[in-house]
Amino acid sequence: MTPARRISVFLSRFSWARLILLLTAPLFWLGAVYIVALAALLVTALWTVDSFTGEVRIEWTFDNIVDVVTGALYQTVTLRTIGVALLVTVVDILIALPIAFFMAKVAGPRLQRILVVAVLMPLWASYLVKAYAWRSVLSEGGVWASVVEPFGGQTPGYGLPAVVLTLAYLWLPYVILPIYAGLERVPNSLLEASGDLGAKTWRTIVSVVLPMLKPAIIAASIFSFSLSLGDYITVNIVGGASQMLGNLVYTNVGAANNLPLAAAIALIPISIMIVYLAAARRSGALENL
């Protein structure tokens, strides 16, 4: 019996050995990427940094976390970040709903395919290219200004409105797709039945479509909300002088060399996301993904 054959006999006899061989690599990866990284983050947040040489010292303290929870700066920035993320999510859902509805229920099969490709197309371009494109669109004398100035408007310039606009643009495909898929699952017969029973379009949307679509909308909102929550590059490019949580983490790692504080700040979006995901789970949206 060749060794290869012996191994295969062994494996076919013992199913647990097969299972171990199959799962070790992915489980190791999961453990290394998620659990160890998260644990390392939590542990780093409890260390301290030598203010002169900038070296991380392993001295256990809750100072960083207390600073982050009680500091006025972090509270303001956290609220601002949540506000931006919520606004981006709302804007995206409002834009995505009619587009997804048209794709799923109105367009023919051919147009539907073209629209799906069109929605996915922006994802082929780099994130940075798109953010810089918005920078030039919103600049003085840029495209935006030249379009609205004849009507007495002006460009919002760089700042939080520009951040919301750019992020909403960047994450729109991630919001359209789940809602589109959710709408596909709403049977046409239900819409017809609603019409037959005398409901107008608006009534049908509010009473039939939206309730069935709720899990899909929540799933879509997880994308736009979580992606906005951790973003710092867009803020840097079009955010003017404003900063979000991601920027605080970035400056503390890059400029301040204060890893423990950065780790403590990074715990804020993580806790927000845990709360958000728990709420989404309660609503049953996660099973719908």
Binding site: E55, L227, G230, I237, M273
Partner: protein, 393 residues
């Protein structure tokens, strides 16, 4: 249907991984201080055949970016030391990389050098072993950012000032003072720009030195609690009028081209680019003086190739190479004779001691006041960083 669903979950899985990792920050570990400087080398041995260099981008060019820009090949041919170079983006990154070990030579700015010296990451340098050191401008030698107690820790490379850049069409009359970005900033509200780094607090301190002498600021990097608070308050007031902060120099160039920014701090090289593109901008060294940078080539304390490292320090400070390297980066050379190989020395005021004396070179603020005061404790860099986040709000 099925297809859409499985593609969707694949997208979700990918997104989940991306967003989760984006939220995480890597963990760092501490590294102990390196050896001390017990005993300087008094003579050089044989070259080891290789040298590992850490420097700002554009400082170690071997022709791979631009065939015409190459001062590494000549060094390799002459000494047989093969150069292995790595570029870094910020002073803090440089400090981290040096601590990770494996580098022989580092080119550091003044806001990194003191930290490296204090932590024992770099060794004292015997300048007698570096013939080119004699050609370096005297006013750059034995300064507080490259020497401790008269002992030199490296060879000066190049220097420049953080100037005031303004749009000549918008800002009238032409400014001669930093006033235009501080107390007078409201005239150009929303179009002021500032350098996005805690070290910019020193720019406010330079302004206060001239405009609020009662604070008694002697050195913008040695601020006691009260002086520091005054600088922070000034910057918080400025924040109302700042359109954006810049740290990427291309971002500032673009903002001045479009007119989104009309006045703010800058580097000479930015004005050179703007001028080349026909923008209506000009720079001035304001009457209050300015902050600036002065870079130093240093040898790490755990260098495995010290002889090649000394050879590099000598090579990079030699007039022709110093001229090439500093011209490429857009700063004044440190070598007096370098201007024989450059035709733009005037733009950078190379060797102009009076101009240079108006520049407060970046230095790491530490608790022991660098201006020599012993009766007060100064605000250290960690607090500067914290305050900078607060200023931006």
């Amino acid at each position: 249907m099925r297809n859409t669903a499985s593609r969707r979950s694949a997208i979700f899985a990918a997104l989940a991984i991306v967003s989760t990792t984006a939220l995480l920050t890597a963990c760092g570990t501490a590294s102990g201080p390196g050896g001390d400087d017990g005993g300087l080398p008094t003579e050089l041995g044989d070259f080891e055949g290789s040298v590992s260099i850490l420097a700002w981008p554009g400082y170690v060019e071997d022709g791979s970016n631009d065939p015409a820009v190459d001062w590494v090949s000549g060094f390799e041919d002459e000494t047989g030391c093969m150069v292995d170079a790595q570029a870094y983006g910020t002073s803090d990154e440089a400090v981290n990389l040096v601590r990770s070990g494996g580098y022989d030579v580092v080119a550091a700015s003044g806001d990194a050098t003191l930290r490296l010296i204090a932590a024992g990451d770099v060794a004292a340098v015997n300048t007698d072993l570096i013939p080119s050191y004699d050609g370096v401008f005297d006013f750059l030698k034995e300064q507080e950012w490259n020497s401790v107690d008269g002992q030199s820790y490296g060879v000066p490379h190049g220097y420049g000032a953080n100037l005031l850049l303004y749009n000549t069409e918008v800002v009238n009359p032409a400014p001669t003072s930093w006033d235009v970005v501080f107390d007078g900033a409201s005239a150009y509200s929303g179009k002021i720009t500032a350098y996005d780094s805690p070290i910019y607090i020193a720019d406010a301190a330079v302004y206060l030195m001239a405009h609020q002498p009662e604070l008694g600021i002697e050195n913008p990097y040695a601020l006691d609690e009260e002086q520091f608070q005054a600088a922070v308050d000034l910057l918080k007031a400025q924040r109302e009028h700042v359109g954006e902060y810049w740290s990427d120099y291309l971002k500032e160039i673009q903002a001045f081209q479009t007119g989104d920014s009309v006045a703010g701090t800058t580097w000479q090289v930015i004005q050179n680019v703007l001028e080349g593109e026909g923008a209506t901008t000009a720079v001035v060294l304001p009457e209050e003086g300015a902050t600036g940078w002065s870079d130093t080539w240093m040898i790490t304390s755990d260098a495995e190739n010290p002889n090649c490292a000394y050879a590099w320090l000598d090579w990079i400070a030699s007039p022709e190479v110093n001229a090439q390297a500093t011209a490429y980066f857009g700063e004044a050379p440190s070598s007096e004779a370098a201007c024989d190989f450059r035709d733009d020395c005037e733009a950078y005021h190379a060797g102009d001691e009076e101009y240079a004396s108006q520049i407060w070179y970046w230095t790491t603020p530490i608790a022991d006041c660098v201006d020599g005061r012993t009766d007060v404790e100064c605000v250290d860099y960690a607090a500067w960083t914290e305050a900078w986040s607060e200023i931006k709000g």
